[in-house]
């Protein structure tokens, strides 16, 4: 462990004392509770932990104190993370507000907007949803058509969004809308509004995994106050791109569901149980063993790359080129792991519901199906490759009239 000197030792003692006094031991290792669908679990220990961390601001340790954040330095945040890991504590302050909208508003919002919206994210009082994708605007996000007209004393929004994560539970929405129909990227604005505003209708979409994490969201003559605009009029695309960077690093880094498969049963342990071992203790199916080893090595290479990119970013080398690969690699590793686990469990891993299957088996099938979304949302696998080829490798766009 790095030696941070006297000041940080003091902070370490403070963090340790506070965590020991406030982290409910019953919550140790139960980070999965965060992913339970709905308005959040009602477990009183969980609620108490949310309240304590919210008031302390340590769910977002480096956000400014002026808006309720922890106000810690990067080094102090590292110490806090170490102290949390030491006792099996985890941050109960999450969701899109923390991962995507908060950091974006801190960068682009007015003082008034920050004072109004950041503290409620810090305390996990308000849940945000993301109005980006539309039926006709998926990977080609900038072709979005939801119309937003200036009606003098308010904006008038008409259109629809799709794949709105958690819209049925959300309090507020950050949304991309078209404010100029004569331009593509330069006709998009970034607005925010209360989901209780009249004219908003939410319909959950049932997915292949049986759950409904995403919704269709319809806007019919929705009146939004003029102060809802974040950043300049028709300047929303730059803000959206910045927000997507936060989203992608979150998906890859484990706060999103890209790495969620990694929380499940380790494939090696499952294989020892479901497939068995030979007299030397090796997984009995040699072909499967080889693929498990390949997967574990890919996962390790990814973990080492996260560490390297972090070290490079902290040194004076500037942003690491390695960061551009994180979303694709993280989501691929998670999917690979879920596929392997299902294969290892055989028919037991295909249990859908009811008797005959244990919790881990039922989780395996849902994780496998749910994880398919990770290479589609937040910029699909293919879009990430386009970004790498254009921004990093400098390869040109194809000619539109090419005869190939």
């Amino acid at each position: 462990m790095a030696d941070f000197g006297g000041d940080l030792d003091g902070f370490r003692a403070e963090a340790r004392g506070w965590l020991e006094a406030n982290f409910p031991p019953s919550m140790k290792g139960r980070v999965g509770i965060m992913y339970e669908e709905g308005r959040g679990p009602s477990d009183p220990d969980f609620r108490a932990w949310v309240k304590a961390m919210g008031e302390k601001g340590w769910g977002v340790p480096t956000w400014p104190k002026a808006y309720g954040g922890g106000g810690l330095s990067k080094d102090e945040a590292v110490v806090l993370r170490q102290e949390m890991q030491r006792i099996g504590a985890w941050s109960p302050i999450g969701g899109m507000g923390v991962m995507m909208f908060g950091p974006t508003l801190l960068e682009y919002g007015t003082e008034e907007q920050k004072h109004r919206h950041i503290p409620s994210i810090v305390r996990a009082d308000i849940r945000w949803c993301q109005g980006f994708s539309e039926p006709g605007a998926g990977s080609d996000l900038a072709s979005l058509a939801t119309k937003c007209e200036d009606k003098g004393d308010h904006w008038l929004v008409n259109g629809s969004k799709i794949w709105t994560s958690g819209a049925q539970y959300a309090d507020w929405c950050f949304c991309l809308v078209r404010t100029d129909t004569t331009k593509k990227h330069e006709g998009i604005s970034f607005i925010i509004f209360d989901m209780k505003t009249p004219g908003i209708e939410v319909r959950p979409i049932k997915l292949i995994g049986g759950n409904s994490p995403f919704c269709e969201t319809f806007f019919t003559d929705v009146k939004v106050p003029k102060d809802a605009l974040v950043g300049p009029l028709n300047g929303g695309w730059a803000i959206a791109k910045r927000l997507l960077q936060h989203e992608r690093s979150g998906i890859a880094g484990g706060s999103g569901s890209g790495a969620r498969g990694l929380f499940g049963t380790p494939p090696v342990e499952a294989a020892k149980t479901y497939v068995g071992v030979d007299e030397q203790g090796r997984i009995a199916d040699g072909e499967l063993r080889s693929r498990i080893a390949s997967h574990e090595m890919d996962a390790k290479a990814f973990a080492l790359t996260i560490v390297r990119a972090g070290a490079e970013a902290r040194s004076n080398q500037g942003p690491s080129a390695a960061s551009s690969i994180m979303k694709n690699v993280g989501s691929a590793v998670g999917q690979q792991r879920a596929e392997l686990l299902l294969e290892i469990m055989g028919h037991q891993g295909l249990g859908w519901d009811g008797e005959g299957f244990d919790e881990a088996e039922l989780t395996a099938v849902r994780t496998w199906l749910g994880g398919k979304a990770t290479t589609i949302y937040g910029g699909s696998f293919e879009i990430q490759n386009n970004i790498i080829t254009k921004r990093i490798l400098g390869l040109p766009d194809p000619l539109s009239n090419a005869s190939h």
């Binding site: 090696v268 294989a271 020892k272 071992v277 203790g281 090796r282 997984i283 063993r289 080889s290 498990i292 080893a293 390949s294 574990e296 090595m297 890919d298 390790k300 290479a301 990814f302 080492l304 790359t305 560490v307 390297r308 070290a311 490079e312 040194s315 080398q317 080129a321 390695a322 690969i325 694709n328 690699v329 293919e382 990430q384 490759n385 386009n386 790498i388 080829t389 990093i392 490798l393 400098g394 390869l395 040109p396 766009d397 194809p398 000619l399 090419a402 005869s403 190939h404």
Partner: protein, 378 residues
């Protein structure tokens, strides 16, 4: 790129400048076309020694700089880029590691200074068949007078034609497959009963098979403890594997960059072929894999320098990953260049040949995947 010290940055920059100016791919091509039996240019190796590269991991007391394995890896990455053939890996890294880890003072005194100065070429003689499998060591070392008599064979010894000192894995007890009973010996190249046959491999490096016919060595030729040489051999091989992975990283980066440049200039259907998404996404895949491989290679070298508990695991990870990635990139280099990539005049052929030889050396992908699994208890 790992966060480097100032010394490491200077070393890497010097290596880059020297390889680009003094040892470009054309230099390797010249060695190949000359039909050289040793497979490298001794004058170029003398320059490398002059710059101190042969002493990077050797303690200062024996004429080295003791800069560590990550530092030597940075140099190997640069020599790998231009396919520079030299005994840097076999002598200054692999054999030197064996003596640093297992040698007594007299052995270190006798050999390390000469390796550090480039005066001699030393190398490991471990494999006995087509595949790397050190546990299967069978070359017999039987007690004879005050020393031992060695009989058997060694295959695909790097720089086997040029070496004047061999670090030989032999069996003093047990049977092939046992870890117990393996002993390492220091055997001079001119020992009576030792004969060598130089081999011409596709990658044109200097490789030889050795035959030991009652080669007599004294007890002072034993490196480390007789019969207990497995750990020393395993640790030595891990250092060689990590160094080779660094060389492979350089070769893969160069192969990728040359290919990427070609995608930007080759015009078909009225546009550069790099504008076609079918090729763009394969390029993105290669870039992604190279970034992952770099993380593994640097982690393995750093683990060796820090004597970390998970060194073996990280080394197998890096050799396997680097093997897969170099395999992919060298194949794509030929394919994406099309017809020109099939010609001997183009460098693509040199990279794909070197790739396969490097993959097979010190354990291929299958060997290291199996080892990774075993190290992790499955």
């Amino acid at each position: 790129m790992a966060v480097l010290t100032e010394e490491q940055s200077m070393l890497r920059d010097a290596a880059r400048t020297w390889t680009q100016e003094k040892s470009p791919v054309t230099a390797f091509r010249k060695v190949r076309d000359s039909g050289s039996a040793i497979g490298y240019d001794p004058a170029a190796f003398a320059e490398m020694a002059e710059m101190g590269w042969t002493g990077v991991i050797i303690p200062e007391a024996f004429g080295g700089s003791d800069f560590g394995y990550l530092s030597l890896g940075l140099i190997l990455e640069e020599t790998g880029r231009t396919l520079t053939a030299s005994p840097l890996l076999s002598s200054a890294l692999a054999a030197a590691s064996a003596i640093i880890l297992g040698g007594n003072d007299a052995q270190k005194e006798a050999w390390l200074t000469k390796i550090a100065s480039g005066e001699i070429v030393a190398t490991l003689a471990v494999d006995e068949g087509a595949h790397h499998n050190p546990e299967k060591t069978a070359l017999a070392a039987t007690a004879s007078g005050a020393g031992y008599s060695l009989s058997g064979k060694k295959t695909f010894v790097l720089e086997g034609g040029a070496a004047s000192l061999f670090v030989v894995a032999a069996r003093t007890a047990g049977k092939a497959g046992d870890r117990d009973g393996i002993t390492l010996f220091l055997v001079p190249g001119d020992a009576t009963g030792l004969s060598r046959q130089t081999l011409k491999l596709a990658d044109s490096r200097g490789v030889a098979n050795l035959t030991f016919d009652n080669v007599q060595v004294g007890a002072d030729a034993v490196l480390g403890e007789a019969g207990k040489g497995w750990d020393l051999l395993d640790k030595t091989l891990d250092r060689a594997r990590a160094g080779l992975a660094a060389e492979m990283l350089g070769a893969a980066l160069q192969a990728f960059e040359v290919t990427l440049d070609y995608l930007k200039v080759r015009v078909q259907f009225g546009q550069v072929i790099g504008s076609f998404q079918a090729l763009q996404h394969r390029a993105a895949k290669m870039f992604t894999e190279l970034e992952l491989a770099r993380s593994c290679v640097e982690a393995a070298l750093t683990a060796i320098d820090e004597n970390a508990a998970d060194t073996a695991e990280l080394v197998s990870l890096s050799k396997a990953k680097m093997g897969d990635v170099l395999h992919l990139v060298s194949n794509e280099m030929v394919q994406m260049h099309g017809g020109i990539g099939m010609t001997d005049a183009h460098d693509a052929g040199l990279y794909i040949k070197r790739a396969r030889a490097a993959e097979a050396t010190f354990g291929g992908q299958a060997f290291h995947r199996d080892r990774y699994a075993r190290l992790n208890g499955y």
